[in-house]
Structures are given as C-alpha cells and as structure tokens.
C-alpha cells in the first residue's frame, strides 16, 4: 500500500487520473536526467528503482499523458 501515495500530495481523495499525470511528469524528468547522465535511455526498471515504484506502475503512469485523460472526457462529458 502507499507506493503511489508517497508520490503525490498525500491526498488519497485526489482523482487517480490527476495523480497519474503528476507521476508521469516525475518519470519524464527522471528519464531526461538519467539519459543525460549515462548517454543512453534508461530501462523501465532503472526508472522504477530511482522513483521507488514498480516497473508496472511506471508503465501505468506514462499512459496518463495520453489516453486515460481523453478517456475520461469521453466517459463523463
């Protein structure tokens, strides 16, 4: 429990769509930093370890920029 919560402003009532977006931004920043540092693209595990997430959570969060948001718009508009 709580692997995600550590990453957001400690508010469990936040919609998951929004917190995934925030997590996605952290992942993107870490990815850029690691690429600069090592001169190659990090693997999913390397990113996950650096951020204290599981690799699966990293994959989930990186979807947030794209489909989950547009999806909510279709479901709830």
């Amino acid at each position: 429990i709580g692997e995600i919560q550590r990453f957001i402003r400690d508010d469990g009532t936040m919609k998951v769509s929004r917190s995934l977006k925030e997590m996605n931004q952290k992942i993107r920043r870490e990815r850029d930093a690691k690429t600069k540092e090592t001169g190659r693209e990090p693997t999913v595990n390397e990113l996950a370890e650096a951020l204290g997430l599981t690799p699966e959570e990293v994959v989930f969060a990186t979807e947030a920029g794209r489909h989950l948001s547009s999806l909510h718009e279709t479901v709830y508009e």
């Binding site: 995600i4 009532t13 998951v16 909510h72």
Partner: protein, 146 residues
C-alpha cells in the same frame, strides 16, 4: 456505461504487480480516487497471493483468472483459481486464521478484502478451486477532475 474484461496469467509472484496495474487501469475508467484504486489493488494482491500460495502451493503451472465488470460507479471482481480449495471457508475468513503459520502469513487477507470492498463472497470446492466475488462502489462524487 458497462464494460468488462478478464485476464488470465501464470501463478507466479512476478505477475502480482501486473495484475494490480491491469485491474487498476481498467477500473480507472470510472474515474475513481487514488484511495479507491489503492484499495482495489490491495485486494487484488491479497487474492492473487492466496491463489498462488494456498491454492497452487506455488506451482507455476497453475492459472489465475481475474474478471472485472464496470457499471456506473460499481466494480465487480472475481478471482478464480483451480487449486486445492478450502474445507472450511468460514474458518478461513476469520481474522488471523492462517493454515500456513510457518510462512509468517498474517491471516488478515480476507479481513482486508472485507474492509476495502462492499461485498465479498467466497465459493470454494476442495480439490477443485476457489472463486472470490467482490463488489465495490467507487467515484461517489461525480465531480470531474483532470
């Protein structure tokens, strides 16, 4: 809206995180809160771990199937294994009961499921397997936030 999916995977602990995230991604269609998704993922962990350890005795040849249905604000989940089943479901559901104390199991898996879900039903047949049915209402506030 209604929607459904099912996932089937080998009974190995590596797949627990896959199962958590897949169900989490599916349920996200209802626009739940973080807490609601975390509760659902926790319940998936508990039931998948039970299937692996108790149902299949960690035999990776076993398969676990999770089905999920969504209808407005309601998630229905089933987790099924074809493992060894239970003789006495009522006893198994008691807080702190574990048949595997040597593994340092907490005996709190079913209690966690009951706490985080609105309904939990267990159907189990010895030597045939176990199905857990669960329901949870999510996204009570229709507030749209993205």
């Amino acid at each position: 809206m209604t929607n459904e999916m099912s996932i089937t995977f080998s009974a190995v602990s590596e797949n627990e995180a896959f199962a958590r995230v897949s169900v989490g991604a599916f349920v996200s269609q209802l626009d739940p809160t973080m807490d609601e998704v975390t509760e659902i993922k926790t319940v998936i962990s508990e039931s998948v771990t039970n299937a692996i350890i108790h149902g299949y005795n960690e035999n990776p040849a076993g398969n676990i199937t999770i089905s999920a249905w969504l209808e407005d604000g309601l998630v229905t989940l089933t987790i099924t294994d074809e493992g060894k089943g239970m003789q006495n479901v009522d006893e198994a559901r008691e807080p702190l009961f574990t048949s595997r104390p040597e593994l340092e199991r907490s005996g709190m898996g079913f209690t966690i499921m009951e706490n985080f879900m609105d309904e939990v039903a267990v159907h189990s047949v010895p030597e045939k397997g176990t199905t857990i049915y669960m329901k949870k209402h999510v996204a009570k506030s229709k507030a749209h936030c993205s």
